[in-house]
Symmetry: D2
């Protein structure tokens, strides 16, 4: 499927500030950028930094005044789709060693403190895709999606008890449970087709068999319509903007629409991976 997407960000800057943005989609075997543009007004020099197929940062320094960022892209997704029933868990003996760090606890995903809860709730689920699916179902049914209910300090440990949050909190809890179950998991920020209202979205992926599969416990958008921006241990790694200085975000527009006739329903019992290992 093809998507046209983008975002527009307008800032008031009170004094010289440095921005690190992570708003561009990344390119990999499953996600092709057909065209993209990035307009910065007033024009500023930009420093690009591409982390190996996971993040496409850029940094710029802006003086007092206005700053406007206008990003547009056309992207084609060709997912690796797989029958969920065949997707297996792999033992710690076989997890690639560069994937192992995604088993460790991180700022917002304190898997070390959720070990027993995860074992009690999911220890008897069928291993593999079904177990991660059970984690997502639990979250979907137990956690209420309430805008504004959490803030930038909220972590999976809180959400497990306070039972409310937004997409980022749902992702954090999914990641923390997976890690506690011995399944590597990580955070994904994305443009999400059909998300309403449109916004940057957060979901997560779990490492099963030989690749990362996408999961979205919020059920707010189909996983095969997620266009990946950034990837990291948790939200701390993938903020759409990290700002050093005194600025005000006046306006933010995020959009994504499907283009062309071709459409694919997100099918039952199908898992989508859009990154290879």
């Amino acid at each position: 499927m093809k998507f046209k997407l983008g975002c527009k960000l307008d800032y008031d800057i009170n004094s010289d500030s440095t921005f690190i943005f992570n708003i561009r989609v990344i390119e990999n075997d499953y996600q092709q950028i057909i065209r993209q543009s990035l307009n910065i007004k007033p024009v500023r020099q930009r420093e690009d930094y591409f982390e190996d197929r996971t993040n496409s940062y850029f940094r710029l320094i802006a003086p007092e005044g206005k700053l406007s960022i206008d990003y547009q892209a056309t992207v084609e997704l060709k997912h690796h789709a797989h029958n969920t029933k065949e997707i297996q868990e792999i033992s710690p003996a076989k997890i690639p060693l560069d994937v192992v760090p995604y088993l460790y606890p991180s700022r917002y995903c304190q898997s070390d403190r959720l070990m027993k809860l995860a074992q009690d709730e999911f220890g008897n689920c069928r291993p593999g895709y079904a177990k991660v699916k059970a984690v997502c179902d639990w979250i979907y049914h137990k956690i209420s999606y309430i805008s504004g209910s959490t803030d930038s300090h909220t972590s999976a440990y809180d959400t497990a008890t306070e039972r409310a949050g937004v997409c980022r909190d749902f992702a954090h809890l999914g990641i923390a449970f997976c890690r506690a179950l011995g399944i590597p998991a990580r955070f994904v920020s994305a443009y999400a087709w059909q998300l309403d209202p449109p916004d940057f979205h957060a979901c997560f992926e779990a490492y099963l068999d030989d690749r990362w599969y996408l999961f979205d416990a919020t059920r707010l958008a189909p996983t095969n319509g997620l266009v990946r921006i950034g990837t990291g241990r948790d939200a701390a790694d993938t903020a759409f903007a990290t700002v050093f200085g005194s600025v005000v975000l006046n306006n933010m527009d995020v959009y994504i629409e499907k283009i062309g006739e071709r459409s694919e329903e997100s099918e039952a019992n199908t898992a989508y991976a859009n990154i290879s290992t």
Copy 2:
């Protein structure tokens, strides 16, 4: 039923220390002290303080050296037993105002942070005794009783997520859930018949209809064999000993046995209250 019970505590005292003990059983309409003795060696002057039918503290000051406390009592319990099906919840409009503070969060029972979890899990349970019973069943099934798994800083907020604890943690979580559901609840320390191994025990009571009913989510001892020592908002109020100074508890023996032929099975669908309001 009649019980013979007591405890023996042996301390090494490194320097002048002050002790506040809360090891004596209290007396009320349902709990009659037939005889009791308290031997302190070496003999020390003792200051008694009886909080209105809830705690029977005594304080003593001891110099460097040994201190031995030997408490014995014979107690008769005449519970107020009631058919659980008839025990109703009362609305906030009718809770006696001196009972209202037991709706407020306390150090180890942060009901304010467990509101949504409590509503989600128990909001649809039948009001009254059945709801508190559902809380106890949840705790019994979800929390593992593991000696040494927690410490004096562990609170209900932790236990809800970490899912392990001892009797005091079970009681704290029960209290926190009840308060979050609008049911006054408080902490009870007790000599517990048939508790194995013998130790000071913790349980809780909830205010239903017109009185406090006993609950024990651990299921380690029958509620009609609990002989009450202290009552408070949580464990912070009812420590068996609060010590100011440098001492070592060398030995602690706690015992309780039933005396006389008469015995009463703790019956199904029967609730026990051993304090009037």
Copy 3:
């Protein structure tokens, strides 16, 4: 000094609700109520509950619609003023046993977790009034008073690290430090003369010598102009309104002004107690 004070509260009530208010001043040897009035519109039946010289609660049930509370009082304060240099700490051996519970940790004052910090920072301060003064100075200099920086879950443990809060947080931290130092301490809600903007105020008192002395680490209002409403272990006990139901507080006015010529400067080296033990 004499004060005229009061508050006006306007609610929209969505469905039958129960209110427990704690807005009336209490009366004791040092605080005389010359006259007071309480108007409730529409007229509702009111249930009064006076806790022994510490809180003057009233409860009422209101149906869907409007509710307006108008409280006014004229109060005379005759403080027990004392030279701060002569105010001593008392040993745990001599603290009255009914005061001892104010040494225990509570929901918002987790003194058990601040033991070492309190000892490190204040362990070498001169015992007595000077030590509690040092606690208040530390709080005043280290914690920023920032409206809206905290919420109803914020506790002393958080404030010690996050270093920002409002009057209630300042009071909680002061209480927690005192308890950690072996000094009984408790929360006081008050009408505060010269507080700008006017609002319900929170401060704390510490038990020294033979009575409770007032402290206000915010330095926002003179301690000899504080007219006491409620007293408790922490803010959980002294909310100006506890509401069971669905209501909106539309408007709240709080005021206090001095009447008559007679005025007393809050003097250096003078401590004020307005409750006897």
Copy 4:
């Protein structure tokens, strides 16, 4: 300086288990491995994984029975030594983008929650090496080194308040403060010459000017005698052994001694970096 070092680990394995070890020293421009050996008994196949000059993991699978790991190395350190007075901070505009993630909060270093404390305590310190030194001095003076006082869940947020910990806690707090001050910082595990008793040691490094400089707030061993094992965001990344299975560590010996005549005092006003960017 040259060092001979190593460790010996003896395990009892209850059932098939997977180990990921991070005990070997890494090699970089400043740390040359002259020789090293790794003996595993009984002999097991080993999978090596070298993260780019930061960690040298190896994984092995062991069946029920005994497992013994014997690692030995001879290492020469040629530090980049620099006059501390000349070491400057760099602005966020110039921090290399691959270093930026070390500004983000991590599991044990919640810099996002320590922003104000860090600014209040260190905001006015001279920028550069002096500021990180001030952080270390604060930690050294305020936090007590107490073996056994913390566990694997303890984080910088706890240590800031509870004021006690071991080397790992000292490092976490140093890292969290640096990040909160806008200085990238990361965790280093090491063999530490003159550490008594010998053990794996933890310290941290901060990114200043154009490289990572070592800091050790514990003052337990000279920084120019630290031989680096692993590097990561915090202790979650650098455990000496991550075990999947049921095993008991029966014995652990860690040692390091200087060889050859040549010795270098750790000099005042000298900073040591042993990794280039």
